[in-house]
Every structure is written in structure tokens, then in C-alpha cells.
Amino acid sequence: MSIYLYLERNTFIHRLHPVTKIFLLLLFFILLLLFSSPLPIILVTFFLLLVSAFSRSISNLRKIWKLMFILFTFTIILWTIFLKNLNYALAMALRLNALIFTGLIFLSVTRIEEFTYGLNKLGLPFRVSFALTLAFRLVPSFILSAQTTIQAQKSRGLDLETGNLVQRIKKFIPLLIPILATSLRNAELLAIALECKGFGIKKKRTSYLDYKFGRNDFLTLLTIFLLYFLLLKIF
């Protein structure tokens, strides 16, 4: 039922300014894209594991490790087939996983509203930052309505339990149409609901969330920058 990835904790990392968190996300993304050999990526992954433990968000990793494992295997196989370079394939697979892991940690420690707030502080107009984070907001309700649709179909005799993996996956495909249709229909209702709450009325919008850029933010960014250049120097 905990559909959002956000975990309400009071750790050092949770308390960082949303802008700091967004910067860290971008820095790690760029860093991972700069490397194309396995070793530095493994090092970064270890560091991410530390961050994840420190922010007490390992439990989210458990939720998606299967997905990561499948992606990892497929990436290795595909790259090896096409480039015949196992080392590179391994790096690509590790990189993909590390990228997902970075995003996962970010979403574990950042409320969606914080994300919007952060983008706003970085100078994006509210409408834009809201639209960008809207996708994240809608994922949980999308999943929920998908679950209910599946329940509704199962309760009317749709058999999703028998058959091998491929057969079962095939049975899920017709489910996608009603689920997508429902979300599109809900989109118009959402636009109405937003305006009913005054969305768009004032140019300048106030914010209930209020964060100060503090010493911790400064120190964190500084540390990460140092590590960054250290890594780039070595590899």
C-alpha cells in the first residue's frame, strides 16, 4: 500500500534543502555517464549504498531489486552480443543500475512537493515545475487504479494465475487499454479539480513548505564536489 517511494524519515539526508538534493541527483547522473569502465561505477555504487543506508531507505531497494536484476542481465547479454566486449557490457549494465539506484534514493528522501519546490527555487515557473513533477504524483494513483481494474476483472473471472510466465504476461496486455483510457479520462477531471482549487490564479504563488539553505547543504555539496574531482582525477 505504500505506493510512493518517499519514506518519511528524519535523517541528515532527508533534511537537506530540495535544491541540494536536485543538485546531487544531477551530479551523480553526470558522473555515471562520464565513466565507461566497471571499476569507478562499482565504487560509485558502493557510495550510493552507503547513502542509502545512511538515509534508511534500503527497504525501497528490496522493492525493485528484481527489476534491477532483470535489466542487469539483459543489458549484459545484449551488449555482449552486439559489441562482443564483455567489459563494456558489464560497465553499461552497472551504469544502468547505478542510475536507477540514484533516482531511487532521490525519490526515497524527497517528497514530490519538495521536488516541485526545488525546481521552483531553481527558477522554473510553478506551472512548469508542477507539470514536470505531475508524472511522479500520478504514478501512484495510476498504479492504484490499475490494481482496482485488475481486481475488477479478476473478480469477474479473468484468470491471471494459471499458465507459464509468457502466457500470463500475454493476459496482462489487454488490461493496458482500459487502464490507459481511464488515466486519460482522469486527466481532464484533474485539470478541472486543479482550477477549482485556484491553480493559476496568481502569478506569484506562496509555499507552505519552507526550507533554508544551511551549513549542512553547503558542506554536503562541497564534500561531493571534492569526491567528484578525486574520482575524475583517478579514472
Binding site: 473478480s155 477549482c196 485556484g198 509555499s207
Partner: protein
């Protein structure tokens, strides 16, 4: 000066041949409390959308006439501008929630209006207290129960402090006490200067209103003060509104005159006594004797526990123990969030117990496949929008038949019959999305009934239905029950429980606090502590020392005393 004026308003939706509202005229003064009633599909929700300029800003069509708020015409004003003056609680209140916790949900609108943070804090705590959600500050709205979501959506609109508040069926998912509280709250808000327009089917709360407007087939057929209207039972019934049971009783006893309208249960009691009516002990004993108990065990629920993983206070069911018998008409009642929906979703294995087990026909439920259970058990979901997924009405109904491999001829016949039963004959090829909420609800019932399951589970079937639709649905269920089908119904509507169900289970905070016959339930003194309310008719019968569940039972037991000294 009128605050709100509607002149000759007509509107026809695009792609529709007949108008949704036609020549609407009325005006609203400040601090008025208005109730809009009428059959489902009569145009009430369309009017609400016109009043907030959602029509024609979002939904296009042929618009004529004029709506003015404080002398400003609103047709071309954006919805967000109107939002400063008029707050709207949508019928689909779930889409009004999109934040990650309760506080931020309410803050969202306040931020749009550029309020200072201190003012936001104040309004958030005020409104949450008003709707009774002050202990839910950090909860994720998606994890709230249906009724709690409805309260939160209301709070998020109230916090904007509009002048006029429009509520489109604001209590469909609320428990009886919650309903009373909301109406008391609304009444109170009019005293603080708010003007309120409520669209509702609930007649018990009708006396709170200053003005009642009744719709039929897109037009206003009657408007006037409450006293004038409530005594006209037949007129109300014809327009899809449930007449108050006590008034129906009085009418059948020929006691109802323009001067003699019993406004309270006490009034009614006095009037009955004045006319020397009393209740017969013998006949009452006959009634209570008639109640037979079903004996064939269907479900055995043993120490059933359910806990949501990784959610604080995630334990929803705390060890349920009881039996369900074949051929029963069972009502499951209790306050919002007491675990009713969670429980019934276990019966067809949509949910799996965290602890404990359910035995279905001598075999552990977990040894059945869900698809296998679907043959025996039909399940009507709480919100029809979640259940309906096909692109035409017919496809929606056929889905179950096809899954259960019914032969082709039977499918055609079944569809035809069930559409007739739920009165949707003309809609066979329509897209379910354009149906009204009441029509959607009937469609979802039809799509379940069509396979004629032995057991029918309904989660709050009253949502969006008007009185006539509700009666025909309930009579249908009664008929099926008499044919041997087991009916299990979760509901907040107490008069339905009284008139139709035979046994009731009351849940409170995930535990069973009552398990017995419906008559026993309504004789209990604790009923209000369980979040339930006594229907006025039953309250009246208790003044005579009995628990009579319907007008018919009342008439059966009443005797006119010949001895004038009694």
C-alpha cells in the same frame, strides 16, 4: 440584492441531442442553505458545473441564459477566478486529491491564493478540526478510506473560504454519524456567513434547508420551502426522492393534514397517542418469531487479520471470527475506515489474510483460484469508475460471461435481460464514460448480476443512485435472495439495512462489536458509539417499546384503541 442569479439557463452537451438543463431560473440570497434534489441524470451536476464555469470553460456545448454572481456574469470567467467566490466539492472527490499528505493537500489551494504561511497554518488546523481529521496530518490521502477522503476533499475546499459552497453529493461515502456531522457543520457554516448549495438524495437532513429545488428531466419542477414539500410523499417519490418514513406512515394512517406535519419523532409520537394508537404485543411477537436462521455454512472466518505492510498503523483487521450462511442477507456496517471493504475483499481472494483463515464450503479459501471463485461470487465495487473498463456498455456486461465461457445464445439473452432489469436498455452501445454516476453504478451491478452468481457482494451500492433506482436495485436483490442467493452488503444507509438485511455485523477499528439480527442491532443502546444512527421511524417505534423496521411492520403492529382512557 441576490448573491447568485440564474436566468433562463439551458445547456446541451456536445454530441448530445437533448439539453442537460433547460430554462433554469432561480436565485440565491446570502446565508441561504439550498438543497437540489431529483432523479439521477436530471441535470443537477450539470448545473453545479455551470455555476463554477466548468461549463462552458472545460466542457463545451450549446449554452444559453445567464448566471451572475454579485452582478458579474460568470460564463467567460476562468474557473480559477470563480474559485475565489465559489467552492465546489466534485462528485468524483477522489480526483480532487493529489498531494502526498493531508496537510499539503489543504495547503495546495491556499498556496495558489498566495496566502502567508501563518495564515495557512491557521486555516489548515481549523478546517481539519472541522471535518474531524485532525489526527491524520501526515497520512497519505491515498491510504485513507472512502469517507475520510471525502472529508479531506471537503476540508481542502473549505480552507479556501469561498462565499458560496457547492457540494455535489457530499455524503455518499460517509457513515451515518459522519453524515449528521457534515450537515450540522454546513448549517453552522451558513450562520457564519456562507451560502450553501447541496446536491443530495438524503431526505433525513432535508429539514435543515431554507429552500428546496427539485429537478426532473433537465427542468426545475418545484422549488419552495421545506414544509410545503416534505408532506407530498407521492410527488417526492415520483421525482426520485425518498419521502421521510414517518410521513409515509402518517399518510397511510390518514393522519396527515397540512396543519399536522410531525417535524420531530416526539411530535409523531404525541400525534399517534392523541389519536389513540397503540402497538400490539401479540403481533410484535409474531414478527419476531418469523425470523428464521439460515443453517448451511458458507464461509467460516477464523481469526482473520489483515495488515498493510510498511504502513504505520497498518493493521486493518484484528482477528475476526464469525460465520456466513448460505441464503443470508447480511449487512456489514461501521464507521469509515473500520475495515469493511478490506474484509469483503477477502471473500473472493482479492486480498489474502495476513493471519488466520477463511473456510469456504469446507475447503480453505486459499486453495481456490480467484477465477474459480468468480463463478460463485459476484462483487460490485465501491466506486463504479474503478470497476468499469470496457468501451461500450454491452462489452462491459459481456466480459464476465465470456470469461466464464457462457454459450453464445445465453450471452445475448443475458445482456438483454440484465439491461432491462437495471433500466439501461437504450444504452447498449454507449461509452460507459459518458453515463451519469447513477447509470454507471447500475451498469456495474448489471455486469455482475448477469452471470447469476450464488453469492453477491456489494460495496456501498447506494452511491449516485436516486430513490427509485435504489428501490428497484434493492427489490431485485431481495428477489434474488428469496431465490436462494446469498447477499452481502456493505452500506452506510441505515434504512436499507433495516428494511432489507436480516443479519448485521458491526465493525469498529477492525474488530467485530456486534453480530446478530437486524432487529437486535437497532434495539442496541450502543449504536451511536459504533458510528451508526437510528432511522427516525425505528426511533418512533422504540417510544412504544418495540423495534419496528419498516412502515409495513409498523402498520401491522398498530392498533387503534377503543378504550378512550388509554
Amino acid at each position: 440584492m441576490h448573491l447568485l442569479e440564474i436566468k433562463d439557463l439551458s445547456f446541451t452537451y456536445q454530441n448530445s441531442s437533448s439539453p442537460a438543463v433547460k430554462k433554469i431560473n432561480f436565485s440565491v440570497k446570502e446565508n441561504e442553505f439550498i438543497i437540489l434534489m431529483g432523479k439521477s441524470g436530471a441535470g443537477k451536476s450539470t448545473l453545479a458545473k455551470c455555476l463554477t464555469s466548468i461549463i462552458p470553460q472545460f466542457q463545451k456545448g450549446n449554452y444559453s441564459g445567464k448566471i451572475t454572481i454579485e452582478n458579474q456574469e460568470i460564463k467567460n470567467v476562468p474557473v480559477y477566478e470563480i474559485a475565489q467566490k465559489i467552492g465546489l466539492l466534485l462528485q468524483d472527490f477522489e480526483v480532487q486529491l493529489f498531494s502526498t499528505n493531508v496537510i499539503l493537500e489543504i495547503a495546495f489551494g491556499l498556496e495558489n491564493f498566495s496566502l502567508a504561511r501563518a495564515e495557512m497554518e491557521k486555516r489548515i488546523s481549523e478546517t481539519l478540526k472541522t471535518v474531524g481529521l485532525e489526527n491524520y496530518l501526515n497520512r497519505d490521502p491515498l491510504t485513507l478510506s472512502g469517507g475520510e477522503k471525502q472529508r479531506l476533499a471537503l476540508a481542502s475546499i473549505l480552507a479556501l473560504k469561498p462565499k458560496i459552497l457547492i457540494l455535489d453529493e457530499p455524503t455518499t461515502d460517509l457513515d451515518p454519524i459522519g453524515k449528521k456531522e457534515i450537515f450540522a457543520l454546513l448549517k453552522n457554516l451558513t450562520k457564519q456567513g456562507l451560502t450553501i448549495i447541496v446536491i443530495d438524495h438524503e431526505t433525513d437532513e432535508i429539514l435543515n434547508a431554507d429552500q428546496i429545488i427539485i429537478f426532473n428531466a433537465s427542468e426545475i419542477v418545484s422549488s419552495g420551502n421545506v414544509e410545503q414539500l416534505i408532506s407530498q410523499s407521492e410527488f417526492l417519490e415520483k421525482n426520485g426522492i425518498r419521502p421521510a418514513a414517518i410521513l409515509t406512515l402518517f399518510q397511510k394512517l390518514n393522519l396527515l393534514t397540512q396543519k399536522n406535519i410531525p417535524k420531530t419523532v416526539n411530535d409523531a409520537c404525541h400525534l399517534l397517542v392523541e389519536n389513540s394508537y397503540q402497538t400490539s404485543e401479540e403481533k410484535y411477537t409474531l414478527l419476531t418469531k418469523e425470523e428464521k436462521k439460515e443453517k448451511n455454512l458458507l464461509f467460516q472466518i477464523k481469526n482473520l487479520e489483515f495488515t498493510y505492510p510498511n504502513v504505520p498503523a497498518g493493521q486493518i483487521l484484528k482477528g475476526l471470527n464469525f460465520e456466513i450462511y448460505a441464503g443470508e442477507f447480511l449487512a456489514i456496517v461501521g464507521v469509515n475506515g473500520s475495515g469493511k471493504t478490506t474484509f469483503i475483499k477477502h471473500l473472493n481472494r482479492l486480498f489474502t489474510p495476513t493471519k488466520g483463515e477463511i473456510i469456504y464450503q469446507n475447503k480453505n479459501l486459499k486453495n481456490y483460484k480467484i477465477a474459480e471463485l468468480a463463478k460463485d461470487i459476484g462483487y460490485v465495487f465501491q466506486n463504479p469508475d474503478n470497476q468499469i473498463f470496457a468501451t461500450t456498455v454491452k462489452e462491459e456486461i459481456v466480459f464476465g460471461l465470456k470469461n466464464l465461457s457462457f454459450p453464445h445464445e445465453e450471452i445475448e439473452k443475458g445482456v438483454k435481460e440484465v439491461l432491462k432489469t437495471v433500466n439501461l436498455e437504450g444504452c447498449k452501445d454507449k461509452d460507459p464514460f459518458i453515463l451519469t454516476k447513477g447509470e454507471k453504478q447500475r451498469l456495474s451491478v448489471a455486469s455482475v448480476l448477469v452471470t447469476q452468481p450464488k453469492i453477491i457482494i456489494l460495496d456501498e451500492p447506494t452511491t449516485g443512485l436516486d430513490y427509485l433506482e435504489l428501490r428497484s436495485l434493492m427489490n431485485l436483490l431481495k428477489e434474488l435472495n428469496q431465490k436462494g442467493h446469498t447477499i452481502i452488503m456493505v452500506t452506510h444507509t441505515m434504512w436499507l439495512v433495516a428494511e432489507y438485511a436480516k443479519r448485521a455485523i458491526v465493525l469498529k477499528e477492525g474488530e467485530i462489536v456486534f453480530n446478530g439480527s437486524v432487529r437486535q442491532l437497532f434495539s442496541e443502546k450502543n449504536i451511536e458509539n459504533w458510528g451508526l444512527a437510528l432511522p427516525p421511524l425505528i426511533e418512533l417505534s422504540q417510544m412504544f417499546g418495540k423495534t419496528l423496521l419498516s412502515v409495513d411492520e409498523f402498520l401491522f403492529c398498530l392498533n387503534k384503541s377503543t378504550d378512550p382512557t388509554v
